[in-house]
């Protein structure tokens, strides 16, 4: 199980390829991988967004992510978990978060990857500050509910 905060741009597909190449102990054991990739959009709440700063609470962020992944591992049968979250200055189209869960069967991979994302969204101390095309800077106030369909 690996949890990382990244201050630089990262390629989720490269991370997945490298992680899986190294995870030789679970080769042949996993039948399912559930993955979520969050990417910065160039549009939010009706405004064009030029860039974003991701603040976090060093120490607490890692601790809370660890709690969330531990909880997922106690609730489902998971073979491995990879979680990478960006911090610092990001641009539209940059990857913000990667969550990947390997399990024998797909129910566990689907449930656990979603559980980790929802809990990360509500509990992990990260905060987004957007810079709009207009130059205006604003804090994102609240994450949306991932279980509801959104327009």
């Amino acid at each position: 199980m690996t949890i990382k905060l990244r201050a630089e741009i990262f390629d989720p597909w490269r991370e997945l390829a490298d992680f899986q190449t190294q995870a030789v102990d679970i080769a042949g054991k996993y039948g399912a991988t559930g993955i979520f990739v969050g990417t910065m959009r160039d549009f939010n709440q009706g405004d064009e967004v030029r860039g974003m700063y991701l603040e976090h609470y060093p120490g607490m962020t890692e601790k809370q992510l660890q709690h969330i992944v531990d909880q997922a591992q106690s609730q489902w049968s998971l073979l491995d978990v990879l979680l990478i979250h960006r911090i610092g200055q990001v641009s539209p189209n940059d990857t913000l978060v990667l969550v990947a869960v390997w399990s024998a069967h797909r129910g566990d991979a689907f449930d656990a990857s979603r559980f980790i994302m929802e809990n990360l969204k509500s509990q992990a101390p990260f905060w987004k500050r957007e810079t709009l095309e207009s130059g205006q800077i604003r804090w994102v106030e609240k994450n949306s509910d991932g279980y509801l369909q959104q327009p």
Partner: protein, 77 residues
Amino acid sequence: MSIKVLYFASLKDRVGRSCDELTIEAPLTVLEVWQRVNPNMDMPDTILAAINMEYVSLEAEVSDGDDVAFFPPVTGG
């Protein structure tokens, strides 16, 4: 007793500083810590609080050497 108070994100902008150092004589709750360091500002309704990097309620008691953190709803992911 000496405790450290930390602020993050929009709350840091609102209080105008990122941390306070506080010396207290008797134990205080998290809410009382806020009132002590921000006497002229009501605590925002949506605030989250942590002691030593674990979430706590506003009634939790603060001990000597603790880090108390206040921050707005999180928006990662």
